[in-house]
């Protein structure tokens, strides 16, 4: 179960109603269900790395823009700025944490039918026709 702080970080990563084409946010795409199954079934190294990445997003990323953690204290623009600083940080391990955060979010978001349709990905039955 995700804490409200973790949810704030993930919501800032892929927000709802923030883009004219990709209108759905991460939680609209079913991340709660995805995360529950991820915690049950993902390989331990993936699970623990994602947990560490979430921790960095909540507690470390604000420090990178000179703000106090947790990330949930910040406004929307600063949350994005903080996460942006994490994924582009010069120190490789922090940058990797940012990459893992994005990769796991993308596992869920990229499988979302509505988001796939929005970028023109064909539905399975289209191919069979």
């Amino acid at each position: 179960m995700l804490s409200s702080r973790q949810r704030a970080a993930l919501d800032a990563l892929l927000p709802s109603d923030a883009h004219p084409v990709l209108t759905r946010g991460l939680f609209d795409a079913g991340f709660d269900e995805f995360h529950a199954s991820f915690e049950r079934e993902a390989h331990p190294s993936l699970r623990w790395t994602f947990r560490a990445a979430l921790w960095c997003a909540v507690w470390v990323s604000p420090l990178l823009i000179g703000a106090l953690p947790p990330v949930s204290r910040l406004g929307r623009d600063d949350r994005e700025r903080a996460l942006g600083a994490l994924v582009s940080h010069p120190w490789y391990p922090l940058r990797q944490m940012g990459f893992v955060l994005k990769a796991v979010a993308a596992f869920c978001y990229g499988a979302d039918r509505a988001s796939r349709r929005a970028v023109g990905y064909p539905r399975q039955h289209d191919e069979a026709e």
């Binding site: 993902a42 390989h43 942006g84 994924v87 990459f99 970028v119 064909p122």
Partner: protein, 504 residues
């Protein structure tokens, strides 16, 4: 079905005996089974991964990775950078999840095996060509036809024409490819001629028994003879043990578990050699992403239907088209939040072409208490070649009409806006941590040698000092290839199996 013992479903102990026990059901193991099945011998093929049904192949990446990829895709090499090492772990091995690319071993790669590594005619090239002819007939190998190209492959063709470089439709083992771009998660149409659909059923139809969800823990040796394979059935996701198995081998044990798994199995079986797990080589790769004004929809067309080998010899780099599913495209797009959504929304206008490199680097593979440890670090000359290769890929993209190229390299401009800016890629950071790389095609960890002091396996594919413990996968290759290795592996495994059954 008597021919399949699925440990995940059976959930009981298995004790049985066969002429040959083959560990691994991928390109090498299935080919050995296909050859030996023709002799009338009794065969068991042991596969650590689960049985996968083509009818159940979906188009979502993570469920596929959970079921079919080693460590769910989380296996990585450890060096300055962590580089994911992609391997299939299911019945049929990596042939189920690869892009079905077929290359014979180039002469310039083979020649040093004969001379520099002293293998002479241990695996004669003429014999390999005969094996490849047969395999290509049986697996419907042909260049990707234009009607299966899709826009991404068409664009590489356009770039090649504009630049006048060596590139061509990729030869693949596919029958009637529908161009759904879903090789990575298993072909939903049964078009890819993976071992799951070809050589394993061939062997099973001739009485071979496939034992799945079964991790081979050790080969039981009696003096210099391999007499059995012991292990445990495992829950595919949790890897919790279900029940033990022991398969007696009357004639031979054939190890075809991959360059990552084979050295560990041999070490657990008492094989001792300073070369075991050493000399590890691979083909790391990094992508360039081209942005086009008109839609590309890379998901329509063969996953990897075109490649450019212009610089295979001089820079040791081959450029390949690749169709990635949305999950993997999204993960690689720059930005977070609104910016990430904006870059993701371009997905339908992108091509991803990867520079696959025949790296000089050598690493090692070791069993540790936490699992398999792959130590591997690229050399400066590898990074030089990678940067040249990425520049070449970007130039081809602009030649094909790209508006921009997304570099994906930390410390570089996010986007190149003109062909002139491609030269910046040769000044890109030389540190592998700045790149988003992936590694597949794994070699050398039980290399072949004439003398025991130079390698692990003899020129008859038997482990030095043993009479009937054979290794037939790419562990035995003395070097990497610079081309996709499935075909090379199958040719070598066929040669080994014909030899050990006395039919060469």
């Amino acid at each position: 079905m008597r021919e399949l013992f699925d440990g995940e479903k059976e959930r009981r102990r298995l004790d049985d005996g066969f002429d040959y026990v083959i560990v691994g059901s991928g390109a090498a193991g299935a080919t050995a089974a296909r050859v030996l099945a023709d002799t009338g011998a009794s065969i068991a093929v042991v596969e650590e991964g689960p049985v996968v049904e083509p009818a159940g192949f979906g188009d979502a990446v993570f469920p596929a990775m959970k079921r079919m990829f080693r460590a769910q895709g989380a296996q990585a090499a450890r060096g300055r950078a962590f580089i994911p090492v992609v391997q299939g772990s299911c019945l049929g091995g990596s042939t189920v999840i690869n892009s079905a690319i077929v290359w014979r071993i180039p002469d310039d790669v083979y020649e040093p095996w004969k001379t520099e590594y002293g293998l002479g005619d241990a695996i004669p090239l003429a014999a390999l060509h005969r094996h490849w002819d047969l395999i290509e007939r049986e697996l419907s190998v042909a260049p990707t036809p234009p009607d299966a190209w899709g826009r991404s492959n068409e664009l590489m063709d356009a770039g090649k024409t504009k630049l006048g470089v060596a590139a061509s439709p990729t030869r693949r083992n596919v029958a009637a490819c529908k161009g759904s771009g879903r090789c990575l998660t298993g072909c939903p149409h049964g078009a890819k001629q993976s071992m799951l659909l070809t050589y394993l059923p061939y062997a099973m139809a001739r009485g071979a028994r496939v034992v799945a969800a079964a991790k081979a823990e050790r080969v039981v040796m009696k003096g210099d003879r391999a007499v059995a394979v012991e292990g445990r059935f495992l829950e595919p996701l949790s890897k919790r043990p279900i029940a033990p198995f022991r398969l007696e081998a009357r004639k031979a044990v054939i190890v075809a578990a991959s360059a990552i798994q084979t050295p560990g199995l041999l070490a657990r079986s008492g094989v001792r050699s300073p070369h075991l797990g050493e000399h590890f080589q691979a083909h790391p790769g990094a992508p360039m992403t081209g942005v086009f004004d008109s839609p590309v929809t890379m998901w329509r067309g063969a996953t990897q239907g075109y490649d450019a080998d212009e610089h295979r010899r001089d820079w040791r780099v081959k450029i390949e088209t690749i169709s990635l599913p949305p999950e993997m495209i999204f993960a690689r797009m720059p930005g977070v939040g609104r910016r990430w959504l904006e870059t993701m929304s371009e997905a339908g206008h992108l091509v991803v072409w990867a520079a696959q490199m025949r790296a000089y680097a050598r690493g090692s593979v070791r069993e540790r208490f936490f699992g398999t440890d792959i130590a591997y670090d690229l050399e400066p000359r590898d990074m030089d070649n990678l940067r040249r290769g990425l520049r070449f890929a970007a130039e081809m993209m602009f030649a094909a009409g790209a508006r921009e190229v997304i570099t994906g390299i930390h410390g570089m401009p996010e986007r190149l806006k003109s062909p002139d800016e491609c030269r910046l890629l040769e000044q890109a950071p030389a540190d592998p941590r700045h790149y988003s790389m992936i590694m597949s095609h794994l070699f050398g960890t039980a290399r072949m040698s004439v003398r025991p002091r130079d390698g692990v396996v003899g020129t008859d594919f038997a482990v030095h000092g043993t009479r009937n413990l054979f290794v037939v996968d790419s562990s035995v290759f003395p070097t990497n290839l610079g081309v996709n290795p499935q075909h090379a592996i199958m040719g070598a495994a066929m040669h080994a199996a014909l030899g050990l059954s006395g039919r060469l």
